[in-house]
């Protein structure tokens, strides 16, 4: 695959990447507190609105990269500044740009200490995340991928909960350990082909041994990010200790980078190795689904429940992606988006609850729904989405994934089904405890229901949950061509 000619006109992707950085520089000059909050909200909202312009010029019928930008960067080392998006990355870029304003809004009252530094970290994160999904040069990709570590660990380590330092360091070392192998693989690919250009690396006739080796390096680094069982152990700590906005960023965007890596690199660059190792990955996904669900069922901390549910949901995403059939892979990609919306919403909901009750314990927050009916409504909808209730977004995604799994093998699909049931169990458990409670609940009569800011914060998530759930066609349509192209590469490679 070759990179199409750079498109003329406004370098939209560069603007999307660097606007948050400029906004961060401006934020450094503002006084901490209100001004910085409003500025961050204004900047991220403007960037979010601007990113929607990507939709207008995007041609969903082709798998070609669009909005391509290409400039010389470090010619001596063969690196280019190359950007571009296809259907898969378009949705993820939009997810990133649209969710960041809500992260700012979610930390409006929760973060009172060192607001300026907090917002600067968030904005730098946005730059790095957008960069990851748009980079078409492998080194550029890696730079964005790694530079995320610093602001993210600071978000966890400074503004997090009581065990924040341990969580931040664990997150950092885990991710770093994964990505050093990635860097070796990137260099090896460059020495083999003479280029760092991601499209040019795809669909090349590397021999199987080399592919297995590269796949292994990719896999460890992306599986840690997803996180797949057994590399998931950093996730509960990071999620639980992070401030609400950090959890949302982690769940909605950072975990997607792992599955995005599978779709963008593992499948098209090492198709033979993918075919060879897919069964292994599929069963790991099944373990993740079941294990994540069971672990979530055993927690009493609300954030931990959502964190472990992430492991399960991401298991569905990898299950779909590695089923390597159209339905399954599209479903897997859709699960990525769904998880971003639903889990982000759940983390914000838990954050709202924590701000009021100062606890995330399931039994201590029992029955709070009686005093917070509006909140209970939102929480209920999010939980239904999380358990893949028909009419919500997750239903479509998981349905497609299970359909794909059936095409691969009956055993696989049968093994995945209990995951759905377990998901229903832990979500209903949240709902039952928090919304209804038992007979003698703690006294929550002083707790106020959510206000206008929080309703504004939660409504868009609900809109997307129902929109994808009832009318998924436009979302699927955007990425269908790109995924078809990836699967074609794989079928061409099949001996």
């Amino acid at each position: 695959m070759n990179l199409p000619e750079p498109s003329a006109g406004l370098p939209i992707l560069s603007i999307l990447i660097f606007a948050p950085l400029v906004a961060a520089a401006v934020a450094l000059l503002l006084p901490a507190g209100r001004a910085v909050r409003w500025w961050a909200l204004l900047a991220t909202s403007a960037i979010g609105l601007f990113s929607l312009s990507l939709l207008f010029g995007f041609d969903a019928s082709t798998a070609e990269f669009q909005y391509v930008e290409q400039r010389a960067w470090i010619p001596l080392l063969g690196m280019e500044y190359a950007l571009g998006i296809d259907g898969i990355s378009l949705l993820l870029v939009l997810l990133t740009t649209l969710i960041t304003p809500f992260c700012v809004l979610a930390s409006w009252t929760a973060v009172t200490l060192r607001t300026r530094e907090f917002m600067v970290c968030m904005l730098i994160m946005q730059t790095a995340m957008t960069g990851v999904f748009t980079a078409l040069d492998f080194v550029l990709f890696f730079i964005f991928w790694e530079s995320m570590l610093i602001p993210m660990s600071i978000l966890i380590g400074v503004w997090g909960g009581s065990g924040r330092v341990y969580a931040a360091i664990k997150f950092f070392i885990y991710t770093m350990a994964g990505s050093v192998l990635l860097i070796v693989a990137i260099i090896a690919l460059r020495l083999e082909t003479g280029t760092f250009s991601i499209p040019a690396l795809m669909d090349q006739p590397y021999d199987l041994g080399f592919q297995l080796w590269i796949f292994g390096a990719f896999f460890i680094s992306f599986a840690i990010k997803v996180p797949m069982f057994p590399f998931h152990t950093w996730l509960p700590h990071a999620h639980v200790q992070a401030p609400t906005a950090g959890s949302v960023l982690l769940a909605s965007i950072l975990l997607k980078m792992g599955t995005y890596g599978f779709l963008r690199f593992c499948l098209p660059i090492t198709p033979l190795a993918t075919l060879e190792l897919a069964p292994f990955v599929l069963w790991l996904s099944i373990i993740a689904i079941i294990y994540g669900g069971l672990a979530a069922l055993a927690q009493s901390d609300l954030k931990k429940i959502v964190a472990y549910s992430s492991v399960g949901h991401m298991g569905f995403a990898t299950l779909g992606i590695f089923s390597l059939v159209q339905n399954g892979t599209v479903g897997g990609a859709l699960v990525m988006i769904n998880h971003g919306v639903t889990t982000g919403a759940l983390f914000i909901a838990v954050g709202i609850l924590y701000e009021r009750l100062h606890t995330r314990d399931l039994s201590k927050s029992a029955g709070v729904g009686k005093h917070m009916p509006v909140f209970a409504f939102f929480l209920g909808m999010f939980c239904l989405s999380s358990l893949a209730f028909p009419g919500t977004n997750s239903f479509i995604g998981e349905f497609l994934v299970l359909g794909g799994a059936f095409e691969v093998s009956l055993a696989l699909a049968v093994a995945a089904v209990p995951g759905v049931v377990i998901a229903a169990a832990y979500n209903l458990r949240i709902l039952q405890r928090v919304a209804y409670g038992g007979t003698n609940n703690p006294d929550h009569s002083a707790v106020a229901d959510i206000g206008l800011r929080e309703i504004c914060l939660l409504t868009p998530f609900l809109v997307f949950i129902l929109w994808i759930g009832l009318q998924p066609a436009p979302f699927i349509g955007i990425m269908e061509a790109s995924i078809e192209n990836i699967l074609e590469i794989i079928s061409r490679a099949q001996p």
Binding site: W73, I74, P75, L76, L77, E117, V139, F142, I143, E146, S147, L149, I150, I154, G157, V158, R164, V165, A168, I169, F172, I173, M176, A177, V180, L181, I183, V184, I187, A188, R190, L191
Partner: protein
């Protein structure tokens, strides 16, 4: 070589300015307490040298009977040395941990040493090279001993003697090796020597000659097993002296190693094997021992050993990509280490050594220093977008290109080990609150320090993201050291 030989005066301009600065500083030492004046003369000299280098950037000349060469390669390095020199002087500030009566002398000796470094960049004859090397080394021995004495403790003397003994021994080995090379080729002129070495390159004698010559540079770079002085000297010398020892000589030794290793090609497996073994030894030794340190300077000492190991990966390749990468990395390292020491000298009120725990709450006491530390330490750890990442990346590329997969894998394993102790520093500065009895007052920064911090952050990030100009010039001019 250009047709018209530029005047000796013009081509040698940076060195002239440096020498003039040294003389002025010498006069200053004769008077009373003139620290401030000496400090500003030093900064002005450094700035003058940097400007002169920029003015003479395109000049190519061979001076002093082929003993000294001015070209883009040497000019780049002189520029980096000049900037590093300014950095060291600004870090020293008012030399709070140096005996009061010798403070102007401190600046004089530092300038003398830097003169040596500048001359090293251009020397292409064994004799000029040795003279320049010793000129740069001897003042450093004295600088270490100039730390203020604390009661019942003379660790600065111990450090100075250690550094000197090791240094002299290494120089002796180097001279021994140079003797072999001279015997094989019958010349002291490096370009000629490299050329005449080609037919006999694979003989044990030539390999032994090159390896022994390199010993002195291994010592300066703190390569295992020539590293024994490092942690003690880092700890015993005053903070500002350690900043100097940790930065400028490293770059100089990489430069000199290239001058000699440049004679070889990837076919000289013995030499490649020597470099590879030393690289692995340094990386593991440095990183594993750094894990256990509590003194920040000592930690940086062990990390210096590890970084010497990374740098050697570029030499293992024995070809241009690797050499460029090694030089690039050493240049980046200079700025990273200066960033760390800027923080150390400012946080340590009375100039005493700094434990990692003393950094607690730094982000509240001085956000700018904390940011500088963050950039420096993460760059050392090899996290993008800083120069430490791009440097390691180019080193690993060079290594893998010559098929040293095992070495590259060991190097990345070491990167992960190293992350832990760098994170401990970040942890202290950002994530912990200082204990009750600790000094929590904000740290006031003078304008020079603010400028220094911002410049270092800019240099570390800029070199990491836009290394193009530097890499290309160095790579293109490497031909001057190749047969």
């Amino acid at each position: 070589m250009p047709d018209a030989q530029p005047s000796v005066f013009f081509a040698f301009l940076p060195e002239w300015i440096m020498l003039a600065g040294v003389l002025v500083l010498f006069v200053l030492t004769l008077g009373g307490d003139r620290v401030r004046a000496a400090r500003w003369v030093s900064v002005a000299t450094g700035a003058g040298v940097a400007l002169a280098v920029l003015a003479t950037f395109r000049v190519e000349a061979v001076l002093f009977d082929d003993a000294y060469r001015v070209d883009a390669f040497s000019q780049w390095l002189k520029l980096v040395f000049a900037l590093g020199y300014i950095g060291c002087v600004l870090i020293g500030k008012n030399l709070k941990d140096i005996r009061g009566d010798v403070r102007p002398e401190y600046f004089f000796l530092l300038a003398t040493s830097v003169t040596g470094f500048l001359l090293l960049a251009g020397s292409v004859d064994l004799i000029t090279l040795v003279v320049a090397l010793e000129l740069s080394s001897f003042p450093l021995f004295i600088l270490i001993a100039m730390r203020r004495e604390t009661t019942a403790q003379r660790s600065q003397m111990e450090s100075a003697v250690k550094y000197m003994m090791f240094g002299i021994a290494a120089s002796g080995i180097m001279l021994f090796g140079m003797g072999y090379l001279y015997g094989l080729t019958g010349t002291t002129s490096l370009p000629l020597l490299v050329e005449r070495l080609q037919p006999v390159l694979h003989t044990p004698l030539a390999v032994a000659g090159i390896t022994l010559t390199l010993a002195a540079f291994f010592y300066k770079l703190a390569v295992f097993p020539f590293h024994f002085w490092t942690p003690d000297v880092y700890q015993g010398a005053s903070n500002e002296t350690t900043a100097i020892i940790g930065s400028l000589p490293k770059l100089a030794s990489v430069l000199l190693m290239l001058r000699f290793a440049g004679a070889a090609d990837p076919g000289v497996h013995t030499l490649a094997a020597v470099f590879a073994v030393l690289a692995v030894g340094s990386m593991f030794y440095g990183n594993l021992l750094a894990l256990a340190q509590t003194d920040f300077k000592r930690l940086l000492g062990f990390s210096a050993i590890a970084h010497a190991g990374y740098t050697l990966i570029g030499l293992v390749a024995l070809e241009e990509t690797g050499f460029t990468a090694a030089l690039y990395y050493a240049t980046g390292y200079l700025f990273m280490i200066l960033a760390c020491f800027t923080v150390i000298t400012r946080v340590s009120r009375d100039g005493s050594n700094l434990a990692i725990t003393d950094l607690a709450g730094l982000h509240k006491r001085s956000p700018l220093l904390a940011a500088t530390l963050l950039v420096g330490v993460f760059s050392l750890a090899g996290i993008p977008p800083f120069v430490g990442f791009m440097g390691k990346f180019s080193l690993l590329t060079a290594g893998l290109q010559q098929g040293f997969l095992w070495l590259v894998l060991l190097a990345v394993l070491n990167t992960v080990i190293a992350v832990y102790y760098y994170l401990r520093v970040v942890h202290a500065a950002f994530f912990t609150d200082p204990p009750e009895d600790a000094d929590t007052a904000p740290i006031p920064l003078d304008p020079a320090t603010v400028v220094l911090c911002l410049a270092l952050i800019a240099a570390i990030t800029g070199l990491g993201l836009i290394p193009g100009p530097f890499l290309e010039t160095v790579n293109a001019s490497l031909s001057s050291i190749r047969p």
